[in-house]
């Protein structure tokens, strides 16, 4: 049976409730992982473990954590992601809504960009939901 978008959201929510100790009600598509749900860097590794197990998928580190782009001098100048950097981020992370980030593309703003909805879209692309 095909995996639906609801299936994906429910399993992502379970993974986030387990990994972050948040209530189910807090896990909405608009909630940001860091700002709203309080995820710390180490939690992302935990979340990756849980999503891989829940969906039987493999999540390469670079697909959710583009640190190599954000620390590359070709893509970052004066603490801001360049146009080329933004293009590279969008190419790699097509599941993320960059519209807000584009208005002030400071590297430090990137950490609070990812939302639950983005994470669901990423998993959907992996499982064909």
């Amino acid at each position: 049976m095909a995996v639906t978008k609801d299936d994906v959201f429910n399993k992502v929510r379970t993974a986030l409730v387990d990994a972050l100790g948040v209530d189910e009600e807090e896990v909405t598509p608009q909630a940001t992982m860091v700002g709203d749900l309080g995820a710390e860097s180490i939690d992302f590794l935990d979340i990756v473990f849980k999503l891989e197990k829940a969906f039987g998928i493999e999540i390469p580190r670079k697909e959710l954590s583009p640190e190599d782009i954000l620390t590359n001098a070709d893509y970052v100048q004066d603490g801001k992601v360049t146009a080329a950097g933004l293009a590279e981020l969008k190419r790699r992370m097509s599941f993320v809504d960059f519209s807000k980030f584009e208005s002030d593309p400071q590297v430090r703003n990137f950490s609070n960009l990812l939302t639950v909805g983005d994470l669901c879209r990423y998993v959907e692309s992996k499982v064909g939901a």
Binding site: D18, I42, L45, D46, V48, F49, E52, K53, R61
Partner: protein, 190 residues
């Protein structure tokens, strides 16, 4: 006081499973201040012993190239207190290993009774952290030998595991620099 919260490895299967024991003794310092008059083994120290068991199991997979640290405890359930005189048996099982870290589940038994169940996540320190090993190589060799890890450790197909060459060499270098004869004392001089 040495920060060893396991006494000995009973089983060790590379990348799979390890069993250690911890004998709880009334002489241990934690009983001085923790719950005076009612000596119970703090579960935090049980968790430390479990982490040492699973951490060594995970680190050994890479010949201790990965610097393994306990990153997160996902679940910890204890069913009754452990007290002096108890022999705790920790069984660590690796659930998953990735390039950034590993997940393990560890149980604690006293005799046949399930005492504790813990899920742990370990992270591998990367180049964002200062380079170098977490332990002095000679101290590390002394520790794993004292635990008997290489006495019982085997690969999944039953062959004995061996100490990585780097650590063997470190121990040889240390032995080579050790001189049992005291250096002569030179008196006087300018």
């Amino acid at each position: 006081m040495r920060w060893f919260w396991i006494d000995r490895f009973e089983q060790f299967v590379r990348g799979t499973r390890a069993v250690t024991i911890k004998a709880v003794a009334m002489a241990e310092e934690q009983f001085d201040d923790y719950s005076p008059g009612y000596p119970v083994m703090p579960t935090s120290l049980v968790i430390e012993g479990m982490a040492q068991t699973a951490g060594l199991l995970i680190g050994e997979m890479s010949g201790f190239e990965h610097r393994v640290v306990l990153a997160k405890i996902g679940k910890a359930v204890f069913h009754f207190p452990a007290v002096p005189g108890d022999m705790l048996r920790y069984t660590a099982t690796i659930l998953d290993v990735k390039t950034d870290g590993a997940m393990a589940t560890i149980t604690s038994h006293i005799g046949d009774r399930l005492h504790g169940e813990v899920e742990m996540m370990f992270a591998f320190l990367d180049d964002r952290f200062p380079p170098g090993p977490l332990f002095e190589p000679v101290d590390f060799v002394a520790m794993v030998r004292a635990f008997g890890m290489y006495d019982v450790g085997v690969t999944p197909d039953g062959k004995p595991i061996e100490l990585p060459a780097f650590y063997v060499q470190a121990q040889r270098d240390a032995e080579g620099s050790y001189s049992p004869t005291p250096s002569p004392v030179v008196a006087g001089g300018n």
